[in-house]
Structures are given as C-alpha cells and as structure tokens.
C-alpha cells in the first residue's frame, strides 16, 4: 500500500471525507523535500485554494501525520512525521533536518515536575547546528556577528 493510501485510510477512519483537493494536497506534501512550508505546498498543489491547503495541513497535523519544525529564523515549517514524539536537529546552513527521539528529556521533565509541582503535559525542543558537510564546505565561516 502506498504512502498516500495509508494517509487516506487514516482520514476515512476518523470520519473525514476523501476529496480531490485533499488528495492533491497530500500528494504535494509527499512530493516535498524533508521539510517545507505551507507556501511550498500551496505552489506545488495547483488548483487547490489557499484556505484549503491551510485547512488540510492543520488536519494532517491533528492526525499526527505531519509535524511542525520551528526554524532558527522563526519561520514555521512542516515535515512528515515518521514516528511518534521526537525532536529536530536543524542545520542552520543548509536547512537539513534530522529527527531524534533517543533523548533524556523525559528524565528532565520528571525532575522538573517534582521541583515545580507542575503537571507536565508536553514539550517542544529544537536543536540548531551545522551538519558535517556544511562544516567541511565552509569551515567556521560566518559565525560572527548578530
């Protein structure tokens, strides 16, 4: 079963209608590189209204089929979610994004919960750095200044 069919099945399971526009948006999402903006999808999925692209992205997010990545510059990107809860390591040069989930945030959160009496619900962690190839191409470049 192809990726798109899996997603469509998930939509049906939740009682959402499978429309032509939704198919087009999902196809566009699947055709994107690792991460992308709503605008990218909008340009890729021709013949679909702007509002519908936003609505569909929100739907996919609600269904945990897609997750958000906050880039260094404050812009919000999306990417297909492969696993459940995980975090992102974003290369500030080329924009490549790695997932990681083998993190100790769980322990930190427990400690924090005990210390503050908060009932921790969720967290958001993004890590920024430069990937191996960018470091080879531009060793320690342009890292001064604002």
């Amino acid at each position: 079963m192809s990726d798109i069919d899996l997603i469509i099945e998930r939509l049906e399971m939740r009682g959402h209608r499978v429309t032509a526009s939704r198919r087009r948006v999902i196809e566009a999402v699947l055709a994107q590189p690792s991460h992308f903006t709503v605008d990218d999808v909008l340009h890729s999925a021709r013949k679909v209204g702007r509002a519908t692209v936003f609505r569909t992205m929100k739907l996919l997010h609600d269904l945990n089929l897609v997750c958000r990545v906050l880039l260094d510059d404050g812009t919000l990107h999306y990417r297909l979610s492969t696993r459940g809860h995980h975090h992102h390591l974003v290369c500030t040069d080329c924009g490549r994004v790695e997932d990681f989930s083998n993190c100790d945030v769980g322990a930190l959160v427990q400690e924090l919960s005990r210390a503050t009496a908060y009932e921790i619900q969720t967290h958001w962690l993004e890590v920024y750095g430069r990937c191996a190839s960018c470091r080879l191409l531009h060793p320690r470049a342009a890292s001064i200044g604002s």
Copy 2:
C-alpha cells in the same frame, strides 16, 4: 542603580542613542507582568509609534535584555531575561512562566553532536504543563478534545 538605568547604560555601551521613546518602551517593559506581547507594550507605552516598539523590542532582544517565549498556541511572548541561557515552563491554563536552567540538555546535546557529527550551536526548549494552583482550582478539567 535602578533597572532602567542598567538597561540604558547597556544601550550606550553599544553605541545606541538613548531617546525618549526608548525610555518609554523600556519603562513599559519593566512594568509588565512576567511575560507579555509586543502588543501589551504597545498599549502600555503610550505616545510611542508601533514601528518603534517593534524596533526597540528587537533591539532589547539583540542585546539579550529580553527573551522570547513561544506559547502553546503559537503566539510569541517576551520576558525580561534574568540570567543567561535558560528555558521556560509555561502553564497552559494561567499562562504563568517559570524559568529553569538546571537542565541536562547539555549532556543530550553532546551525545547528539557525537552521534550526528553536527556542530551544535544552540537549542530551544519550552515545556508546557499546568501549575499547582491551576490543578487545585480546576482538577483535570477541560483536557479532552482537540
């Protein structure tokens, strides 16, 4: 020396002019509760143009006098930065924000760096939960649904 004088001194040190508008914005920032939006400052600092408030907030952020908090609903808030690097624990009911810096993210980042060959530059961590008083007032309320 008062808070405002400290900030002004910092401005001067970096070669920025100390203007009446900047004073008014800084006073407004100091008068805010723990966290606030640009809009809050805008309403509090009367007689200062919108653009100038944005410019001054950005300036304060660049000078590390103020830091950003990403709320659960996606809105960006500000707060005075008291220490250097730290993170936020945000109550999703009342919006209260706690700082914490005694976190193990450093170890996580080192491990991550070794595993991925990234040169880690920075990270962004926000934790969301419900604070003790909100849990007392509304025990396990309204946590179902979207």
